[in-house]
Amino acid sequence: MIEFLTALLETPVLWFLLGAIVLPFIPAGTGRGLLTLVVPIISAWVIWTAPQGLGGAASLAGLDLTLMRVDKLSIVFGLIFSLAAFLAAIYAWHLRDTVQQVATLLYAGTAIGAVFAGDLLTLFIYWEGTALASVFLIWARGTEGAFHTGMRYLIIQIGSGVILIAGVALHYTQTGSIEFTSFTGEGPHSWGVGTWLILLAFGIKCAFPLLHNWLQDSYPAATVTGTVVLSAFTTKMAVYCLARGFAGTEFLIYVGAIMTLFPIFLAEIENDLRRVLSYSLNNQLGFMVVGVGVGTELALNGTAAHAFCHILYKSLLFMSVGAVLHRTGTSKASELGGLYRTMPLTMVFCIIGAASISAFPLFSGFVSKSLILSATADNQYPIVWAALVFASAGVLSHSGIKIPYFTFFAHDSGKRPAEAPTHMLIAMGLTAFACVFIGVFPQTLYALLPYSVDYVPYTWAHVLEQMQLLVFALLAFALLMKYGFFPEEKRGINLDTDWSYRKMLPAIVGFSCQVIGAVWSELMRGSHAAKNAILDLLSGYYGPQGRAAQVQSTGLMVLWLAILLGTALVLNLVILPS
């Protein structure tokens, strides 16, 4: 126990734990607010001054734990997590809810702890910690719907943890080590089941396609301040873990590319703006996963930089939509519009966030996303590259345009809410400043990145390309809007994979489980050969030498003619009554 405490002393996590213990004893108000501000500052200072290398050694049941592994990759994530916690604390200054405040501190603390975890067991502890702490931010909304959503969220998050520990256990029995290093090895074919399970656990928290839906389900259900906090940590923690454990795993490139694509379409038709932002979050994660998959120094720099910038501008967007929700009671696009009249500052900050996520030059998204894009292009992944550029235009459509446009412009909803409270404006202002600052002075961000950077984002060609992409897309928006092609905002929800466990599963549980199990085991048996076999089968039939494409004798073709004629005649003369 003492050993654990001394190990914790070296980590920033300690301060979050202390803060969470002390906070309930301080009367609600300025004192508490200051506490929530001070803890992230101390954390950042601890991280900044921590010596590089392994520290915080402890042991548990004979396993050696490393609570503080400091290197440039963990520092950059630790710092941005501290900054996000700080900004969220300002934004939540008005909060008088002890549960949310404690949960926020624990959540941020465990996420930062996971980033510095040097072994898989420590990682697992913090991994589950984030799940347990964060669910209170959803339950704090206090409605029955939020409770159910929170339960679904918790089950999936805990499930991810269970899969992780199962994977860690298998990994340990195979290798005898619980050190958290790269698992990539010689590629996926060399992995054991344990490694696959670890990847699956990471994939769930990183919202891989088809594992993604907990994110869009839960984030819009959280409180105004809770969503801002949620958006920063869990998924980026998973991205960090992927970058640490699976850098250079090629198929992640394709997983990431799919992640950038499909949320675009769902975001575009979603009415709840906070859910739009959740889909957009999913899409941005895709860029980071692509960076992890490429796995070169440039790509990993891109992933880290993009995570850094993304936390800032996604927080900013959630803050501005949250401020609107705070003042009007709704975040649904169909109920909003024309708010620029009375919330101009919120509008400006929202547009800065939108410009950043859309990667306009001079905003933060531009200097980070281009690292990933050029890493993709450098390594000659044409389809992925095309998908990412497409996704960049898509980001503009739902986050860059839809969010600010339908909230603050479009049709006047008749709502005249007051401007956001001062502390929210300060939080948004600081975040917006950070977005622009990074965009204008990218070298300050690049200095923090894990590998040395000799990348220059502001070349004439690159700025021109990006401006062309965005401005032409804007023109498309203007024209489609003007001529009424743009889908109107209307109340409603859209089906996503959560349909499977909210509707379908309850209906067919039981009997069907056995069927699925049987089919699945059958499929798994042949899965290695299956893909090739199918392709061979197809090209065998349809290929240049296949039966469907072969030149046949004229006799056979005439015979076909006769058969078809016969069929027509029989149909007309015999079957049909005259």
Partner: protein, 512 residues
Amino acid sequence: MLEGIVQNAPLLAIMLPLIAAPVAVLFGNKSVAFYISGATLVLSFALCVYMALLVSDGSILSYHIGGWAPPIGIEYRIDAANAMVMIIVSAMGALVLPYARASIEKEISPGHHTMFYACYMLCFTGLMGVAATGDAFNVFVFLEISSLSTYVLVAMGARQDKRALSAAYDYLILGTVGATFFVIGLGFLYIATGTLNMVDLADKLANSPDNKTIRAGFALIVIGMGLKLALFPLHRWLPGAYSYAPSAVSAFLASTATKVALYVVIRFTFSVYDASSGFERTTLEYIILPLAITAMFTASAVAIFQMNVKKLLAYSSVSQIGYMLLGLTYLNQTGVAASFIHMFNHAMTKGALFMAVGMVVWRTGSALLPSFAGIGRTMPWTAAAIVVAGLSLIGVPATAGFVSKWVLMAGAFERGWWPVSFAIVGSSVLAVIYVWRLVEVMYFQEPKATTKDPVREAPLAMLVPTWILILAIVWFGIAANAPVELARIAADGLLAGGFDNGQTVILGIPGR
């Protein structure tokens, strides 16, 4: 003079190239032949546009050959439907010709150039005649004129690849059997009614009781023509003929020949017979519809795996013909209009694709996939043309292909056949794959280092006609109103029972 031309427009549009063909052969000089055919084809195109304008208000032109009034005399009868087909044929004919002049330099031995122009004009005459005539037997005659010259044109590819010969032979045997079936069908109709004029036929059929001769006639006509239009299991002659023919011939045939045959089926189904009920409807729904959908998928799937790009395009044509037949089977205005619009749009799209591929063949000497490597860099205009036309083939918005698929989907919904829309989308996905294969090779592979001359952009004489078509694809993808309107008028005319509605304008020498 002008009055004379205008009064005889339907006849001149068809007969000018017919007369010019032997004249060109008599001169025996390939340049002279080129200019003669150029002049006649352009004039023919102008006359077609003029006639299309005349009929675009729903009226009908009736031209009495030699002044003999139908049903005794032969009649050319032009409404919106034929006008559209004639515009397709004459426009493609005029556009492909300058392209052909450059293209055949490398593909056909110089001694045969004059013959090429003559055959080209005969083929053109045949196709135009089929579209224009109002006499059922005349359809057969013109069809055989075009078919016979087509066999020759295809066989001219033998200098490049000997397989052109066997392809031409196959086409000859099958085409003749198909045409003969068609003629038997006509014979049954003649035996049943005693007339061959389409208007008269329609009239007599409507007033005669249902009988088996008439039914058998319908089956023979549809299946016989089904071979000429490459209805799915009868399509096997097409890939060989299109891939081994000279590029210009492929471009011209792919954009016109099957369309004209399809027009004949539409004309007989709707104008001569009454497709709205009875055995005609059953034949369409139980035979043509499943075959059309099978074509859309199977032929696309074959296209995906082809290594020869011309063959890939040919199989893609077979699947696109599926779309056109599909629209026909809806038996509603939107569906038939969709068939016509797709005919029009696909003629441009496939014409442009075959022409662009022909340019690559011209430079690299082969239509096999490796010769397309890196032409995004070396032949940027050609590659861009393939991309735009490919997008139209897929049906991407802002290209012509989108318009036709849109109308086709609308027709399916109107008919209540919404599952068909999945087939349309699904088959488009297959199109995405085969077009992407081309794009990938063109833009993402390095050009192969060859010992021959470096690959450069094709000459302007080939590039300009191709790009006219590309611009037309984009133009009709955005400003789609004109063809859609014409197609709707055509569909209205056809569905209203064919020839008898609308104001009839009689042309030709009056009297007798």
